[in-house]
Amino acid sequence: MDYVIVPHWFIGYNSILEMMFFVITSLVGAYALRIYKLSGQRQSKLFGISFLLISAAYLIQSILNFAASYSMAEGCSMRSMTAVHSLSNFGIYVHMILFITGLVTLAYMTLKIKNIKAYALFLAAILAVLLLSSNKLYFFYALSSILLIYISFYYLRNYLKNKKMSALIVFAAFLSLLFGKIHFIFSIDHGAFYVAGHLLELVAYVLIMINLINVVRK
């Protein structure tokens, strides 16, 4: 598997940012499920599940990055470094599967169809491409970007339909998330893109959080 290049000064900050993303996506997911409980609206359930899957992906990523930075800072033995490395590889797989499943669920929600077979086929095809590819990390970012292009278009149409500031904020958030993922593709070769990817993700999740606060405060 290929690895991204993380600038030395950014080690530790990445873990903190990912923990923030975990908290925000968990809150949005839990809130969407609360809306589902009140309204019985299927779209809210799918939206909630997708955000909870993405939040689980960030939690794993954050823990892994923390473990890696801790083992480097403490100067662990070769044996424990190897254990962290093996755990890290397993964790990256879990992170990728959870994140892609979250995005597929979100894309399926936007289709507004009720067909579990179509969802299963859609998910299986994407996971097969990801897991059978030789360069998994590259394919993960590429597939995420493709799904986010589709989701961003959906939110652009949603904004053009509603013409509300809140819909514009959500569109901007998904666009920022898309640019973040595109930056991660290049982070396989350059560390600066890894930092830029995280900062763009931060912008995306702060925008989503602002929108959630606006809805709850009314």
Binding site: L38, S39, G40, Q41, Y154, N158, S166, V170
Partner: protein, 92 residues
């Protein structure tokens, strides 16, 4: 749109009309503004009265309706659902 949502929307529309002119709205005005048949209107209003969403006030000029706390809570929660759904593109 699902059947359940239609029903929730109708209840929201009735309660919103009453909320707008709280304590001063007559049944005919609610009927006119909620856009329901007479039969449906009576069924919904009886249910809302029974469940404590609204209260009937009898005056010399006739009956008026006002919202109870449960009614205010419903309107606020429904508005929150609409805001969340429209901003995150969840409307069916």
């Amino acid at each position: 749109m699902s059947k359940k949502r239609d029903r929730l929307q109708i209840i929201y529309d009735i309660l919103s009309v009453i909320k707008e002119k709280n304590g001063k709205i007559k049944p005919t005005n609610v009927l006119y503004r909620s856009n329901l048949s007479n039969q449906m209107f009576i069924e919904y209003m009886n249910e809302l009265l029974q469940k404590g969403f609204i209260v009937e006030n009898k005056t010399k000029k006739g009956k008026t309706y006002s919202l109870m706390q449960k009614g205010f809570d419903y309107v606020n929660k429904y508005q929150m659902i609409i805001d969340f759904s429209s901003s995150f593109g969840l409307s069916e």
